[in-house]
Homo-oligomer: 264 residues x 2
């Protein structure tokens, strides 16, 4: 009898933002989530309940017979924990989800391994639609890559292969396009709050800024005083930020960077 | 016979991104655009054709009998040109559209004046829907403010009063939320381009980053290595940017800023 791809049972190691969103997406597609591990019992339990899985806070209590183990931990915790979690479970397929961790981290620990990297920002509080999320996979062998592509394709229309070097570049670009962008929103929110203005007046602007780069390149889409090198406005803004030295530093550096980006 | 608000004839001084979008929006709503001025003939002509207006490149040739004059010039050009353009046209209503120029710039030049500030990023190549754009107005007298609100309400559902001090804060916040955000997109695009990866793989991430702050505050929405203070990843990214000192500087400052923003 042919086994369908959704018969793949999955153990999640990690119950953070990415693990939560990914486990829920797999669960909805009919995969069986066998177990969730987290160092924190509350996190492990919360995710396990959502996806009808068992949970543990003890890496040595990981189940032995799942088909795929998905490791979604903070990068700094990852490499030191891999030997513990893989020990005795070398026959399974192991993947991690970290943009900046090379596939070779699995070398010598297990035989079948790879990377499963969804390029998106995840928060537990917010559901995302995986269909549009680019998923970049890398496998230790062609049949592993093919299997990961098949698994990824159950979630998303946009599945690509990327090696570790491409993936770390994607991750770096994503830090700019997402993490730093969101920080710009946070600084804007703080400036408005200090002046008793509501953040939501910025939402149409934030939306349009994102929509614009669907049609124009970011260089074509750039506007504002730094691009025009309107020193009156720039200096006036720096004055307004006199009480906020960190924001002033950010304003100065990014204005210079916009100006230099324009030069050939 | 009652004059309807759309009988207001408007002269545009400026034919840049904002002037183009605003003039087109007024034109569509049935206002008569009497004339367009730009220093550059091609720009003046291009906008004039779109809105069936006359055009000029000579400020002294501005028509005398329009009801409203909308000045949308680069801030640095604004104050020195106001005396020339208003001379002999003191009876009309004059407004500028600059976030960071106080209303008092009109003082002593004309009797009826104000500010008409749509909080949005405009590019000539891209049409925007004014209905959702917050427009902040300020008038020299209650009846001027009321008139500007009425005019603004023909374009947008979101019309507010804001004094010059609030407006400059809004503009400053918009520089962070839009201009600096777009620059983050531009830097991400460059990083991908150097590695022959297409920019459009980032679009779902960019969209989700913008959508998230409709539901979560930017602080709640923050993710990434700087927030987790994942030094492995941060240092690795700084290494990847070794050939790009400016991007490295941006990465370092914004990572520190994200980390400090989290502290109480």
């Amino acid at each position: 009898m042919k086994r369908s791809i959704e018969d793949t049972s999955i153990v999640f190691i990690g119950a953070g933002n990415l693990a939560t969103n990914l486990a829920k997406a797999f669960y909805r597609k009919g995969f069986r989530i066998a177990q969730v591990y987290s160092r924190t019992e509350a996190s492990a339990k919360a995710l396990a309940q959502l996806v009808e899985a068992d949970y543990t806070t003890d890496l040595s209590a990981l189940k032995h017979h799942a088909r795929m183990y998905v490791v979604a931990l903070k990068d700094s915790a990852l490499s030191q924990l891999l030997p513990i979690m893989t020990s005795g479970r070398e026959q399974a397929l192991w993947v991690h989800t970290a943009g900046s961790v090379p596939m070779e981290v699995w070398n010598g620990l297990v035989e079948r391994y790879g990377v499963f990297y969804p390029l998106q920002t995840f928060s537990k509080q917010r559901e995302v639609d995986f269909k549009e999320i680019p998923i970049f996979v890398e496998g230790c062998a062609p049949e592993v890559t093919a299997f990961l592509k098949e698994v990824a394709a159950t979630l998303s229309k946009k599945v690509y292969e990327a090696d570790s070097s491409q993936r770390e570049r994607l991750h770096l670009a994503a830090v700019f396009a997402c993490n730093f962008t969101n920080h710009m929103y946070a600084l804007a929110a703080r400036l408005l709050e200090h002046n008793h203005l509501p953040f939501n007046v910025l939402l149409p602007l934030i939306d349009e800024t994102a929509r614009k780069v669907h049609e124009l390149s970011p260089c074509e889409a750039q506007t504002g005083p730094a691009l025009r090198y309107d020193e009156n406005v720039i200096n006036h803004h720096l004055q307004l930020l006199a009480d906020e030295p960190r924001l002033q530093e950010v304003y100065r550096l990014l204005s210079r960077s916009i100006h230099e980006e324009k030069q050939p």
